[in-house]
Amino acid sequence: MRQYIYKRLWQGAIAIVGALFIVFIAQRLSGDPVALLLPMDATEEDFAAMRVELGLDRPFVVQFGLFFSDAVRGDFGDSYLWNQPAMSLLLDRLPATLELALAGLVFAILLAVPLGVLSAAYRGGWIDNTAKLFAMLGQAMPGFWVGLLLIVVIAVKLQWLPAYGRGTLAHLILPAIALGWYPVAAMTRTLRSSMLDILESDYIRMERAVGIPERLIIWRYALRNAAVPLVTMIGVYFANMLGGAFVIEVVFAWPGVGRTVVEAVFARDFPVVQAGVVLASVVFVVVNLIVDLSYGFIDPRIRHD
């Protein structure tokens, strides 16, 4: 187990260094990284100072070394749109993004668990077929489009919920649905197939034989075991949702990391863009790491030797 943890930590570290390298390469792709990192009204002295800071007259490896040592300290330069260090700007907005992703996850689970359980319990019935139809449609509907449709129907036509901004719980509902939409299908199918396996197993048959009510068997005894693959999947989808939030935040004018980075792209505020990519990768790697390491705790049968 300990060896496995070290191996995963090592892999995670390599992945983050790789992400930093991709950002570094992208910075150089533009031709002149100095022009990219300084505001329009920078003086000639600013340019000269930045050239020395980036070590542009020195070998490529040294340049990456300089970039790397700044990056691990979270220094990606100052945002010239917001006049503050790029990373701290994004960290200020991270709670809003996490809140949205968490709400999306809650929505997905609240919908997927009953759908998956009932689909398996009444296999081939109308719930099963409806869930199947939803799963197919859900996979093909981009979240941002679902968001637009929700705005048209719920916010504009029915005027039930606000369409834009952050503040009350009501503001959270529509973006959470749009973001949580995609994983519902996958979670439902996963839970359904693991429930089907478990409902066939001997211990469930035994419980039926001794007369435990079917409802109790399904919702207590079967679900507890069938949820294991779902729990591991939830972490992966949570990580993906943080990426998906980039578009959803724009649709709903949600003041999170994604919207800030998209605005930075248009404003050519490159320090924020590179900090955003690195932050997204770090969060993604860390969440996946936690998920992988938690397997053993969730299901003792898959402890890593």
Partner: protein, 289 residues
């Protein structure tokens, strides 16, 4: 988005065996629109006619039969723009699939066949690539490269080559242990010939399934980028760009954001269904119970 095998299983219909005619028809229509769009469209995609602006679809009150799916704020015909958008989607998907499939398969074959150092390097590359979420990556490249088709294709290839590489690597790992490969080696067949004549035909089925499934995925991804204004740039027409334009009139013209979305959904759904059918047909063992 990154795990094609897991996602693909979701759309599998139980006991599905017949050829999915509707899905195939939808995809054919999309491809025909892409190929012959200018001859099929009732209007030019960029023909502005302010007099006809904001005409609702023909079946709605105030609709006109000349504009079957209505017009936008500049009086441009939505149906003609959907047809023009199909071209962009199909062209981008074609390049993206060929490039990511080619690069991914080549690297996957090298990793699986040689093992050792090449395998470790390629596997690490896959890990790194998969740990950078694709949308932030796209934003990064959008901020340093000129926007447009080339940039979109580059980002999609960077995101999707790992699908092919991972799966092909796995297949080749088991193929190389098989007798026919060992015998070819004993018979003195050169490595490039083994790759082309003996390995490639055996992974073609898998590649075809992946490519079909990727088609839908690419369309959604490209629409997302264009929706943000970072993908296809006007005056070129794209479904994602149409959604972005329509967003400004969300309160008055529902069809501007509904119809392009349906086009995206239908293409993606059709490609998922067809891809699943191909997988089941080629490989009955992997079919979900």
């Amino acid at each position: 988005m990154t795990d094609i095998t897991r996602d693909a299983e979701i759309t599998t219909t139980e006991g599905q065996s017949g050829f999915p005619f509707i899905a195939a028809t939808v995809l054919t229509i999309v491809v025909v629109c892409a190929a012959f769009g200018p001859w099929l469209a009732p209007h030019a995609a960029d023909a502005i006619s302010l007099r006809d602006a904001m005409t609702p679809p023909a079946w709605e009150e105030g609709g006109e039969s000349g504009f079957l799916l209505g017009t936008d704020n500049l009086g441009r015909d939505i149906l003609s723009r959907i047809i023009a958008g199909a071209r962009v989607s199909v062209v981008i998907a074609a390049y993206a699939i060929l490039l990511s499939g080619g690069i991914g398969a080549a690297l996957g074959m090298i990793a699986g066949y040689f093992g050792g150092v090449p395998d470790s390097i390629i596997s690490r590359l896959i890990d790194v690539q998969m740990s950078v979420p694709s949308l932030p990556l796209a934003l990064l490249f959008a901020s340093v490269l000129p926007p447009g088709e080339g940039m979109v294709i580059l980002v999609i290839v960077m995101t999707y080559w790992t699908w092919y590489a991972r799966i092909v690597r796995g297949e080749v790992l088991s193929l190389r242990e098989r007798d026919f490969i060992a015998l070819a080696k004993v018979a003195g067949v050169s490595t490039p010939i083994i790759f082309i004549r003996h390995l490639t035909p055996n992974i073609l089925n898998t590649m075809l399934v992946l490519a079909t499934l990727q088609f839908g995925s690419v369309i959604v991804f490209e629409a997302g980028l264009s929706f943000l204004g970072l993908g296809i740039q006007p005056p070129q027409v794209s479904w994602g760009g149409m959604l972005s334009d329509g967003r400004n009139f969300i309160e008055v013209a529902w069809w501007l954001i509904t119809i392009p979305g349906i086009a995206i959904m239908a293409s993606c759904l059709a490609s998922n269904i067809l891809g699943d059918w191909l997988r089941d047909t080629f490989d009955p063992v992997r079919r979900q119970l």
